[in-house]
Amino acid sequence: MSAGGMATDAVRRLEAMLLIRAYEEKLVELQRSGAPGTCTSVGQEACAVGVVGALEARDRILTNHRSAGHLIARGADPGRLMAEVLGRVDGYCGGRSGSLHISAKKLGVVLTSTIVGGELSMAPGVALAQKMGQGEPGGIVAVFFGDGAACEGIFHESLNLAVQWQLPLLFVCENNDWQAFVHRRETMPDNAIADWAAGHGLPVATVDGNDVEAVHAAAREAVAAIRADGQPRFLELVTYRLRGHFEPDDQAYVDPAELARWQARDPLHGQADRLLAQGALDADEFAQLREQAVARIEAAVAFAQASAWPGPRTLTHHVYAEQGAHS
């Protein structure tokens, strides 16, 4: 690939991060005027963009309550996402999931789990189906979860099964130091996550989760390795939750010095500074990218707000499958 081509990919990654940021900042604003609260991934955009960009259309994704970045990086339409958050019919799930359970089958996003660890519970089965010939040949599965989920027993059950059954599964732990309102240091020894994964026999890479290029490179390597030998891999992305757990959240419980340290390592600024320094982007172009992202999100809001509410009579639709010819 030429230097120019690489620069273009890196600019696209910046663009994707800007779109995620604009989307979530808009959700914060909408919440203040009465829309449902959400768990934003502000500060963690590099994790989503770096990993999802290393996947192919034939791959499958499962994620957790902080899934907007993964969905947008996967190409989800922000308008349909926003419509889902607002509970409208044009949402990906017809308004039944809200922000906390969005799935998008056509995009290969099987699950947003708000049961912490639910994604780890289902991921081996999705990978098993892939291995047993469902889905497109060569597809793998990526599962995103947090450091808090690593404290759940299902984390160990899931890793153990993936290793024993040799499942094509990429575990991606976004270690953002927070587990709702509890700091990670109160819940586990330092470095525990990588050690636990290694203890299950998984090859582990621990990467700066705020450097989208580093995340992307590590994810590409892991994905290629899984495709080559069908065995699971584990990525620990060291990052930080810059906003609260769930909007609104004043973060009064957060050490201001720690927060300031991580704000100074904002992944968007990191990537923008890098591209500006390389000359891959100039200040005007950067400003333009930001404006474009904001404009796309404005259009998304307009789309979502214009979308109809689901009819109350549809309340119990989709609970059970109709028995078709199969029975």
Partner: protein
């Protein structure tokens, strides 16, 4: 017809459905060890021993079902379902709905329960109503070998998650099973085991036999009891129960499970809300106590509603009507 035990009926149903549909796979602690012939016939890929990890066994079934497979998991004893509850209730039962119908979860979770083996409360707990209460799940609990085979085959073909309970006291009980491999029993259809006009006895699993014994005794007293075996608890065959009730005007529900918020409560509510005008006596519930299953044989048996108790309940209901008539005449 072939005579076989319920255990053999389960095995045949699994073998036939795995033969018919290569998307069907079986997972659980020891399934590949116990069912060598299935491993030989269908390969180790489709018959999988698992680690001792019910939560992820169930989760794996849910993920596999969402991705095109039709898993059957053997979770052994019903109390172990507590570990699998998250995957079954929060994922299998809810995600079809939450996805707006994008994903389906065709899976079957097998487990055994009930008194009879003196194994105590951590192997014996009739908790089927907990799952009937969870949206998105179907619940089956048959009492005969023919129904076990027919319902398991139907459950495997169903596009919804099905909790399939077997009563462990019945596992070795033999019954006639149709030879036709097309034999299936649709989910959601109760069976009238004995026709009668005076009282309706509703039950499922091992207490169906209790009701049949009671009905035989009642016949000697000139009382014709109708006995309904629900077979499927959810979806509940309301029509069969209501039709019977409109005929008899009296309902006795008999379950091994405890009463509060159980199937017996549900059936009493069904009678009160949908057939109140037909009732000639208050509904009677004969259930297990609100107590964990004890191990001692004597205590296990004491927890079960007996045929004598059913007979007495029916006699009491008829007496109540007689007393009511006298009171009316005297007023």
């Amino acid at each position: 017809m072939t005579r076989m035990t319920i255990e053999q009926a389960i095995h045949q149903a699994l073998a036939e459905e795995m033969q018919r549909d290569e998307r069907v796979l079986l997972m659980g602690e020891g399934v590949a060890t116990k069912r060598r012939d299935l491993v030989q016939a269908f390969g180790a890929t489709r018959v999988r021993n698992t680690p001792l990890a019910e939560a992820v066994i169930a989760g794996t079934a849910v993920g596999a079902a969402a991705s095109g497979l039709r898993p059957v998991i053997d979770l052994l004893f019903a109390p172990f379902l507590a570990y699998a509850m998250d995957a079954l209730v929060n994922s299998a039962g809810k995600l079809r709905y939450l996805s707006g119908g994008q994903f389906e979860f065709p899976l079957v979770a097998l487990s055994m329960t009930g008194s009879g083996w003196c194994v105590g409360a951590q192997h014996n707990h009739n908790l089927e109503a907990m799952f009937a209460h969870a949206p998105g799940l179907k619940v089956v609990m048959p009492s005969t070998a023919a129904d076990v085979k027919g319902l398991l085959k139907a459950a495997i073909r169903d596009n919804n998650p099905v909790l399939f309970f077997t009563d462990l006291a019945l596992l070795h009980q033999e019954g006639e099973v149709p030879d036709d491999s097309a034999h299936r029993v649709p989910l959601g259809q109760a069976a009238v085991r004995r026709a009668g006009t005076d009282v309706t006895l509703v039950s499922y699993a091992k207490t169906v036999e209790v009701c049949l014994q009671a009905a035989a005794q009642l016949q000697g007293q000139g009382i014709a009891a109708e006995v309904i075996d629900l077979r499927t608890l959810k979806p509940l065959d309301e029509a069969t129960v209501l039709n019977s009730l409109r005929k008899t005007g009296r309902l006795v529900v008999v379950t091994e499970a405890s009463g509060l918020c159980g199937m017996a409560a549900e059936l009493a509510a069904l009678a009160a809300t949908r057939a109140f005008d037909a009732l000639r006596a208050p509904v009677v519930r004969l259930t297990g106590p609100d107590a964990p299953g004890a191990s001692s044989w004597v205590l296990e048996q004491a927890a079960l509603p007996s045929a004598d108790a059913v007979v007495q309940a029916v006699q009491g209901m008829r007496a109540e009507v007689a007393v009511g008539r006298e009171a009316l005449a005297a007023s």
